[in-house]
């Protein structure tokens, strides 16, 4: 079984000079399709755009891996990604205040990078202040990492954070790799008006996620770990293409596998466009509107 992931989600900030929160208005419309530039397995219809909801950059002390910002930017370019939602792992593995600041700073230097925020419930004692600060700085998605930080969902600081998200209505993206995490999260969140994006979902928790998504219309799934051969088709059939967001988990893991899983799925071209960018644009664009 799979034990961990590094995933990502997020937004655009007003401090970057972008117009309000409208990702839709900031994504350049391309006339031709995009996608990996290296000639490889044939894809009949390239998506017109790709918004990658799950990227990261920084240093990974637990394993030798080059996940620098330079590598991320190179991979984004090579693979035709229009926008990449990203965050610094400094905020996940060290200090979320410093990490969020670094995320904002680096994303302000690149038109393609969209900053994601994170909080660490092990340190967060004032969710009202922390979440308000993120919103005021322009973050529009919050990511939490129970797998990497090893805290349980049944944890008072998490409850406070979720309570605050009800107030500000920004999307929450959570790694839910193991049995029961997604269920506990959904129980914790309850009836929610804000989007909850489940990340790190592989074949082993697919039934759990489908059942949850049927009952919670504001729950979404990110694709980077969807590894069974018909996972995309099954999800489209069971919950609809409008609930699936493309993500790659690059640069820690390869981009091309998750890309091919969607690009070559037996679904319509429009459904692929929804997964590759339209759904993300909608979720990110709606924040703050």
């Amino acid at each position: 079984m799979i034990l961990y992931t590094i995933t990502g989600v997020a937004t655009r900030t007003s401090s970057q000079g972008e117009r309000s929160c409208g990702l839709r208005s900031t994504v350049p419309k391309l006339l031709t399709g995009v996608g990996p530039r290296t000639p490889q397995t044939e894809v009949a219809q390239m998506p017109s755009q790709i918004v990658d909801m799950n990227t990261h950059f920084g240093v990974y002390p637990r394993m030798k891996a080059d996940i620098s910002l330079e590598i991320l930017e190179r991979l984004i370019e090579q693979n035709g990604v229009t926008r990449a939602v990203t965050l610094s792992l400094k905020g996940v593995l060290y200090d979320y205040v410093e990490g969020n600041a670094e995320t904002l700073r680096k994303c302000s230097e690149s038109r393609k990078l969209v900053p994601a925020a994170t909080l660490d419930p092990r340190k967060c004692t004032d969710a009202v202040a922390d979440v308000s600060a993120l919103v005021s700085r322009g973050f529009k998605v919050l990511r939490l990492f129970p797998d990497l930080q090893e805290w349980p969902l049944r944890f008072a600081p998490v409850r406070s954070i979720v309570h605050e998200l009800h107030r500000v209505h920004i999307p929450l993206m959570v790694n839910a790799l193991t049995y029961g995490v997604a269920t506990e999260l959904t129980d914790l969140v309850g009836e929610h008006a804000f989007p909850v994006i489940l990340s790190g979902i592989g074949y082993w928790v697919l039934s759990e996620v489908i059942v949850l998504m049927k009952d919670n219309k504001n729950t979404f799934v990110e694709t980077s770990y969807l590894d069974s051969p018909d996972a995309i088709e099954v999800l489209v059939r069971e919950v609809g293409a409008d609930r699936i967001l493309f993500g790659s988990n690059t640069p820690m893991t390869y981009f091309r596998g998750p890309y091919l899983s969607v690009a070559k799925a037996d679904i319509s071209d429009h459904e692929k466009e929804m997964i590759f960018h339209l759904n993300a644009e909608k979720i990110l664009g709606e924040v703050g509107e």
């Binding site: 799979i2 770990y225 590894d227 051969p229 390869y254 981009f255 596998g257 899983s261």
Partner: protein, 247 residues
């Protein structure tokens, strides 16, 4: 590019995966350019070796592109020997596979070694599911015990937390010329293939997908994206398999 998949499955899964029809599997192979694939039966792995291998035998007759591994279960020695005698003479059975997680028996235990010795005498390859340090050690013992047998380390040793598994798998293969690394997994760290090629060379790495549990997109994408030469990619995708499996 031509692809030969040395790690595939037919049968059902206890997950929402609906690929257990030959025509769907052929469709999946066509989608990713997989010319031939070597299957084992999920029924034989998880539950009943005898019924599963029989189903596989029938399945293999469904396409000239299908080949097979007979599953052996070292808890059932007499039946396993029967499986070897029954299937390893069949042309489309290219080898045997042992999955230690479901038999709860190490591939290097006395019983497994006894079974593998019989496969070796028939000049068949062996695919060993290998996940984590303990199983890497066991697979290495098998490779050392049978230096003239081709031993395939499934999953390159695994894709566990922080690269645990595949890095140790590469290290184990380094000094063992009969030990081959099969690449599939779910969480595929971006330098996995490059590190393997640099450590053991591109002639002992084999494309495998774990379909129909996993989407071939994962392993195909990994090799295509890997920062290695086109020639190395061709070796991994098909040449090495053609050589060791005589395909």
């Amino acid at each position: 590019m031509k692809i030969i998949d040395v790690h595939a499955h037919c049968g059902e899964w206890f997950f929402p995966i609906y690929m257990n029809e030959a025509r769907r599997i052929i469709g999946l192979m066509d989608k990713y350019g997989v010319e031939k694939a070597v299957f084992s039966s999920s029924l034989a792995v998880f539950y009943d070796m005898v019924e599963g291998n029989a189903q596989l035998n029938e399945f293999l007759s469904g396409s000239p592109r299908f080949y097979g591994y007979a599953i052996l279960n070292p808890n059932y020695m007499d039946l396993s020997v029967e499986q070897i005698e029954k299937y390893l003479g069949v042309q489309k059975f290219l080898g045997v596979k042992i999955h230690p997680d479901y038999s709860r028996k190490s591939v290097s235990c006395h019983e497994s070694v006894e079974l593998l010795e019989k496969a070796r005498k028939l000049k068949k390859v062996v695919l060993l599911h290998t996940w984590g340090d303990e199983q890497i050690r066991a697979t290495s013992i098998v490779a050392d015990t049978f230096p003239d047998m081709t031993v395939i380390m499934g999953h390159m040793g695994g894709d566990g937390k922080e690269g645990a598994g595949w890095k140790a798998g590469i290290a184990a293969a380094k000094g063992r010329p009969n030990l081959y690394l099969e690449i599939c997994g779910s969480v595929l760290h971006r330098d996995r293939i490059k590190e393997a090629v640099e450590a053991v060379g591109d002639d002992r790495i084999l494309y495998g997908s774990d379909m129909t549990l996993l989407n071939p997109s994962i392993a195909v994408g990994m090799v295509e994206e890997a920062d290695i030469s086109q020639s190395s990619k061709e070796n991994i995708f098909h040449r090495n398999a053609e050589r060791i499996l005589h395909l």
